[in-house]
Symmetry: C2
Subunit: 349 residues, 2 copies
């Protein structure tokens, strides 16, 4: 079947540029000869555009991006731009505007990969982080700013509609996995209103998934188990902020954010989904070919899976796994970003 | 100097009963012959009172408790009581009513203590968690509950007054420590209003503490460093929810919540401060003498320090440290809760 994937590419800031180049290299290589071609449109968004125009994501660009099958994003954020401007004006704006309500973050400890844990066990779980609600909605404000009477609020907004759809997605994923286990993470003993909505929703949707075992953990306890017994997790479903925290920790115990991929998924396909490494723009090492493009490459695997190219996705994952094993065995030394990309591209053909 | 410490004791639920008994044993022992006596008033609060009367913390009891010099609390929470009722109606009510704005949680890796980390380094930091604001204020609500149109909100409230006083306390603690380093943890790229209030406050107060090095981490990145490089931390200051999450993780990497102590401190001494282990009521092992009372005993050390008995506090810490070293050396096997308490009490005299 001959088809074309229309891919919007947003390399963004810092190491986003370098890792995206390698991710695209691997994407082309894995699809070579498959009959599927990739037509990329690159968008120069991030700190440069902001400094040039003061804009982060012009409406016209958002509409153009919307016309693609998927988005590949590198990283967003630069010390020259006030904190939050690019994160909220570009990254979160894309997630919200394109209704990426499933923020999918798998955590697998690949064989041989160094982990800070003494006895990690077999780690293989996926966090389904809600992507369009919670404390990320930008529904806060401040009064009497800069005075001793300042008051600043942040509102977490949670709706039955928003919680149910992500919980349903998480259950479907759990049902399709061998262990069929779902853990809800929240803090319903303190955040009672949001927490109870999440809890009731998991109970109600769970009734439709009789073969999925359901577990609950407060977010504080979840961080404990992520370091003492990460193997216990299969699918975690949680809100936007807790998911942000847990997935960085999960990345740390599975070899670092240099390896952690993510998909901002719109399961209803009413807009393109977006794939990006969990790591940030790492301005301190940008432009030096020091970044590991593996997380970006694994994000390409998630992209391929989402677009129905499961076999290609498996090839990318296998290439990464083999490359990491070679590192562990000392068969390859430190390589520049492009060196790792070249090796992975050669391995997926 | 002969004096009397009027101590309100709230053993609470589950293992709270057992560990509090041992903590009191150690407290009596360490003060024996010092001229200081402890006069305890025990309050039967928690699940039992709730089932008997429907109350969690009657106003009259709160007023009585207020008349004490300090409070020792075991643990709160029971599966027979709806989630949040005891936590908010008793534990958080005490923290808020008695203005425990400094929730002090030291994390030290005692020699020989097993940790899930392969290479922990020297861990010795303290988290100053704000205790009276943030998402813990109970300022949320829900609309159309139980319908497909339900919306649930949770509001994080942050004031200049509330943030400044806890930041000031944290700086003072950092200035008194050898490394003199303070790390603010927040998420100011997303929670911009609250985050910028915290950031500006740390900047402003920091100007008065020229010898303290100031660092900032997003909460997600902070969880990474807690497992990859916990030795980097000295004093962490953060909001109520982030502090809750970080201190459970910090406890996990320093040997588990069985060892983590905390103080809910009112530095202005307008009301008694409250000392409690970080762990919960652990109903699954309650009443079986299986709980480790060490966290409760270390909370007694914080209590003694707060009341000006620094030498006694050091003796309690030294006894715990020696006991943990004996465990590590295999010189003592598993002991019942009271066995550990007896050993520590004998060691502090
Ligand atoms: C950059 C930031 C806004 C973002 C988030 O908090 O979601 C990042 O931490 C992530 O996890 O993708
Ligand atoms: C029981 C709960 C309300 C409490 C909290 O969240 O503060 C506990 O987790 C703690 O850390 O003391």
């Amino acid at each position: 079947m001959a088809d074309t994937v229309r891919l919007a590419v947003i390399p963004g800031d810092g190491i986003g540029q370098e890792v995206t180049a390698e991710a695209l290299k691997v994407l082309s290589a894995v699809l070579e000869g498959s009959g599927t071609t990739v037509a990329t449109t690159e968008y120069d968004l991030g700190a440069r555009l902001y400094h040039r125009t003061g804009e982060t994501l012009p409406d016209s660009v958002l509409e153009e991006v919307r016309g693609h099958d998927a988005i590949l994003l590198g990283a967003v954020g630069d010390p020259s731009v006030p904190s939050g401007v690019l994160e909220r004006g570009l990254l979160l704006k894309l997630r919200f505007a394109l209704d990426h309500y499933v923020n999918l973050r798998p955590s697998t400890l690949f064989p041989g990969v160094p982990t800070p844990l003494a006895d990690p066990g077999e780690i293989d779980f996926v966090v389904v982080r809600e992507g369009t609600e919670g404390p990320y909605v930008g529904n806060g404000g401040a009064l009497r700013v800069g005075t001793p009477h300042e008051i600043a609020t942040e509102v977490s907004v949670n709706t039955a509609f928003g919680v149910e759809r992500v919980v349903r997605d998480a259950f479907a994923r759990a049902a399709a996995r061998p262990r069929k286990k779902l853990t809800l993470v929240h803090k319903h003993n303190v955040l009672v209103h949001a927490g109870h909505l999440w809890r009731r929703t998991v109970e109600a949707v769970g009734a439709e998934f009789g073969d999925v075992t359901v577990d609950y953990l407060h977010v504080d306890a979840a961080t404990i188990f992520l370091v003492t017994d990460p193997a216990r997790f299969d699918v975690i479903v949680t809100d936007n902020l807790f998911g942000d925290i847990l997935t960085d920790l999960a990345a740390a115990v599975t070899g670092g954010i240099g390896l952690a991929a993510s998909g901002n998924v719109n399961p209803d396909r009413t807009a393109p989904s977006m794939f990006e490494p969990v790591h940030g723009s790492a301005p301190d090492i940008a432009g030096q070919q020091l970044a590991d493009p593996t997380a970006a490459v694994l994000s390409v695997a998630l992209l391929l899976e989402h677009l129905g190219h499961a076999a290609a996705a498996r090839r990318v994952e296998a290439a990464v796994s083999a490359d990491l094993a070679r590192r562990a065995a000392g068969q390859v030394g430190p390589r520049p970003t492009a060196g790792i990309g070249d090796a992975l591209a050669a391995a997926v053909v």
